[in-house]
Amino acid sequence: MDRALRRRLEARFGKVLTGPVRQRHDETEIRIGAGDVPEVLLALHDEPDFRFGLLSDLAGVDTGTSMQTVYHLWSDSSGDWLRVIADGLSRDDPRVPSVTFLWKGAEWMEREAYDMFGITFEGNRDLRRIYMPPDYASFPLRKDFFLADDASRSPAGGVRHMEQTHGPTNAEAGARIRQAPAS
């Protein structure tokens, strides 16, 4: 855990942070609003205090109630992975500014997040589906997307363990979605 990094982050981004800076093992986590993504990442990328030059990973997360995009950054100024979570995107129309102006290589990762979660990255000039066919209508990694499991329909097949995660069949739709942990 890099306490100095935490202090620097709190000092620099105190206003835009939507939650406390968390640290566990070798990870430091900050949460920001979706609109602050370009500004914060640009500062992290360029400012000599931070120098987070490498975008290690970009992921979308569906918490069941909202959407998040998660950026993992690496810098030689710190021994920690920095995790930037852009929080609170609406599930109906999640939108977040693209970071392709900083890292062109984020283009495909954003395409993947769009393909899997439906998150629209504003500013990505090639935001189309990457894995699923172009006429596909759904977003598979969302939590309300259940695996089609013909075993449950065929009388011969056993019930697979996968189905355990689904709630009772006649429960209301909202109750069936797994919720992300509060943290």
């Binding site: 890292w103 062109k104 942990p181």
Partner: protein, 412 residues
């Protein structure tokens, strides 16, 4: 206007050889242009032909796309003007499957991702889950992980050499490198029980201790490994045709490579000695003595030679592992059913192709809530679109091979 088939035209017993069954459709010409209006600016730009240009559809069945990749090339004569990789032909939805499997089962899905270097695909999720659980891995298990991982790295790089030569038209190196790989794979089969999809790393350790057969095979191989690998490379390293084709091809500079999120040998070939084993140490790598080779040219030849240098460093690491191997258990004590506390964990390791990373979220149940798999092949493949335009068709394969993507990892 396509003629519609009615079921009355065709007898029920018609075989597929019946021309009425197979040739009733209108004669169609396959064009790689998608049959819908362009959705993005980039797609509209790509699928617009200027004078003298044409599309060539390469793949998903093509000898040198390293799996089922489809690349639409826009060419002007022999020159590639632009290209558009189309993914998803091997997409299995591993992330979704992992969310519906418990933590042990999720590791099982990792091996087929990059089937050339399976151990590295297991390593990062295992590390992420250990972080979630706060498990201390026994030191002997860490040493065994590093030992088997470096062996797998050598196997992967040996195969890279063969593929690269094959895509440049050389027939022989692929078979020589398969001989090397086969010896390593047999060795790992004696250790892990499988030849390709090892499924060896467990949360909190490894699946079994070192055994006699593995050690005897390893000893026999180590005694001749350096000589063999050098001899195999002699065919390519000095060959004028090979060097002339690879040198100065697909040059990428440091700033662009970082912009493209490259890691691993492809980044190191541009002059940055960035290696997660040193930059963000994990496992027992801080205790080991090895160098991070880097080259400054950033072309295909540099990427090739850099991997060959890494093989030598891996041999050094294996040697040290064998000498420093401590005694002790190879598995931490863990319950059978794992329910980590709610939380998030990120673990990245340095694989033969770059950074393999896993981002796992636990919600307190026995199944990961979200499991993001970051694969270097996926990241590196998009650089092909940056490096290739302006080169010839033959160079497309050379550049693609030098970036060393594995489609199993690209398509997840």
């Amino acid at each position: 206007m396509t003629t519609t088939r009615t079921p009355f035209d065709i007898p029920a017993h018609a075989s597929s050889d019946d021309p009425r069954v197979t040739l009733d459709e209108q004669l169609g010409v396959f064009e790689p242009i998608p049959p819908y209006p362009p959705r993005t600016e980039r797609e509209a730009e790509f699928y617009t032909l200027r004078d003298g240009e044409m599309f060539v559809n390469m793949g998903p069945q093509h000898p040198s796309t390293h799996g089922v990749l489809r690349v639409v090339l826009k060419i002007d004569g022999e020159k590639v003007v632009d290209l558009d990789p189309v993914l998803g032909y091997l997409h299995r939805g591993v992330e979704k499957l992992c969310e519906n499997a418990d933590y042990h089962q999720a590791i099982c899905y990792m091996d087929p991702l990059e089937y050339i270097s399976s151990l590295f695909c297991e390593w990062s999720p295992v590390m992420a889950f250990e972080k979630l659980l706060d498990v201390q891995v026994p030191r002997r298990a860490e040493y065994i992980r590093v030992l088997s991982g470096e062996l797998n790295r050598i196997a992967s790089h040996a195969l890279f050499m063969g593929w690269f030569a094959l895509d440049l038209g050389g027939l022989t190196p692929i078979l020589w490198s398969f001989i090397e790989r086969d010896e390593i794979v047999e060795m790992l089969a004696a250790l892990t029980g499988q030849r390709m999809l090892f499924n060896y790393f467990r949360i909190g350790g490894v699946n079994g201790d070192l055994n006699h057969e593995f050690m005897s095979r390893l000893g026999a191989w180590m005694s001749k490994a350096t000589a063999h690998i050098d001899s195999n490379q002699a065919l390519l390293n000095e060959n004028e045709i090979f060097v002339r084709r690879a040198r100065g091809l697909g040059v990428i500079d440091t700033a662009t490579a970082l912009q493209m999120c490259m890691t691993g040998p492809n980044l190191r070939a541009t002059g940055v000695p960035f290696d997660i084993r040193r930059a963000h140490p994990y496992s027992i790598y801080p205790e080991l003595d090895f160098d991070i080779p880097s080259r400054t040219e950033g072309d295909c030849l540099a990427r090739y030679l850099l991997r060959m240098d890494e093989v030598r460093q891996s041999l050094r690491i294996i040697d040290q592992c064998l000498h420093q191997m401590p005694d002790g258990p190879v598995m931490a004590k863990l319950p059978r059913l794992i329910r980590p506390r709610p939380g998030r964990a990120y673990a990245a390791i340095e694989g033969p192709r770059g950074q393999y990373a896993t981002y796992a979220i636990s919600d307190g149940t026995d199944q990961p809530y979200r499991m993001r798999i970051h694969d270097p092949s996926f990241i590196h493949l998009q650089s092909v679109g940056l490096l290739t335009p302006g080169n010839l068709i033959a160079d497309t394969m050379a550049i693609m091979a030098s970036l060393d993507p594995i489609m199993g990892g690209v398509d997840k």
